[in-house]
């Protein structure tokens, strides 16, 4: 028998689920607040959503240390942008920046799964969804992280988004009202928490609309 000794990996998966839904004049972004490693819970109250600009928030799951590094880098880049342009970055601009930042580490990637939610220059809700190395797409709604396999098909079913193959292209924003979208997100997470051990404890919801930004919370199962 070979001697057992501890090995290490530069990556960990700290779990968590993120959802964003874009409407005609709002955007709802949500994530649970559980942080895990393996079968253990590290924290029951860790926020995965950060505000990157006035009209742009990012929800991220995956490896927390990479996520934190990514968040700090984007915050620094946004500061530089503000110094140079005297304005806040728009959500589509931040979307491109996030993609470039992720791709910059293509061969030692940030193990992070992000959705970007916000309002575009017309005030319309916008959601960008990413993989770990920066491929991205603007969509009407999306889910990322450990519970995404449970939530994404449910959203597909409920939101009946027009096929992206339709020509001319159809608007991807969902037909729901803001309150309906918030309710839908709550249902999604309550359900995902039942089956995904990495999702739970508390749900954080960030709503962006013409009145600004607003946060609310809902308790989730803690087991």
């Amino acid at each position: 028998m070979t001697k057992q000794h501890p090995a290490w990996s530069p990556y960990d998966n700290n779990g968590g689920t993120c959802v964003a839904i874009a409407g005609a004049d709002y955007c709802v972004t949500a994530a649970d607040t559980r942080m895990s490693t393996g079968y253990s819970i590290l924290s029951r109250d860790y926020s995965k959503i950060i505000k990157l600009a006035d009209k742009c928030v990012m929800a991220s799951s995956g490896f927390q240390a990479d996520v934190k590094a990514l968040q700090k880098l984007l915050a620094a880049r946004h500061l530089i942008y503000q110094h140079q342009h005297n304005k806040q970055m728009s959500c589509p601009a931040m979307g491109q920046l996030l993609s470039n930042t992720l791709y910059y580490k293509r061969f030692f990637p940030y193990y992070s799964f992000n959705v970007l939610g916000g309002l575009d220059n017309e005030g319309k809700g916008c959601v960008y969804t990413y993989d770990a190395v920066g491929s991205y797409e603007r969509v009407g709604y999306s889910s990322q992280g450990s519970g995404s396999t449970l939530i994404m098909p449910f959203l597909d079913n409920q939101l009946k988004s027009p096929s992206p193959l339709l020509l001319p292209a159809q608007d991807a924003v969902t037909p729901l009202s803001e309150a309906e979208a918030v309710d839908l997100v709550k249902t999604c997470f309550a359900s995902a928490t039942e089956r995904d051990i990495y999702t739970g404890d508390k749900l954080e919801i960030v709503v962006l609309n013409k009145d600004g930004i607003h946060r609310e919370y809902m308790e989730l199962r803690k087991d």
Binding site: H5, P6, A7, W8, S9, P10, Y11, D12, N14, M35, T37, S40, L42, S43, D45, Y46, F63, Q64, A65, K68, A69, F108
Partner: protein
Amino acid sequence: MESIQAKQGLVGPNDPIQRTQLPYVTGTSVVALKYKDGILMAADMGGSYGSTIRYKSVERIKPIGKHSLLGASGEISDFQELLRNLDELILYDNMWDDGNSLGPKELHSYLTRVMYNRRNKFDPLWNSLVLGGVKNGQKYLGMVSMIGVNFEDSHVATGFGNHLARPILRDEWHENLSYEDGVKLLEKCMRVLLYRDRSAVNKLQIAKITEEGTTISQPYALKTFWGFTAFQNPTAGAEGSW
């Protein structure tokens, strides 16, 4: 000539870079919590060489500057090197002599960067760190892992502590714990760890940090009770072939 000289040392200039791929002497759990006036932190003093308990007087909780306490589990030498680095950092901070100082929040952020940068170089510091402190009436308690995972909480524990101590803390911890109740709670956690963690030793220190400053207790032992019948005859009721 140079190569001959180099061969006499452990590492020559042309030898491949050595990195920590496995720890040598390690410390086990650190447990810490917020209480009414500040932070309490506990750690035993064992230093394990694999499964041998090689050292029994290792100090694993140290004050950093005026406002912070650092506790570490994992590779002791990495922790001690980190302490030397932090000593220098605090020295340079004090040398400004301008009334500004690094608080626990700043140090936690700094340590997170150190740990994460070392993992990016594939040369990690093999530790889980607990940082607690009080500055300007703000209590602060956070953790960093060897690959840079970091968070704040009202109570934290590394290693086995996360499995065995935190459930107890989640049950019994509250915002207004008095100093006495905080110590009792930590001792309860450390006792469970002593019973269940084979590399824990019955010699520990409890440290306190408040607005007034830092105190680290003298090493002491917990009262234990090994008289349970299951301890005296562990195979009773589970007899095997030998």
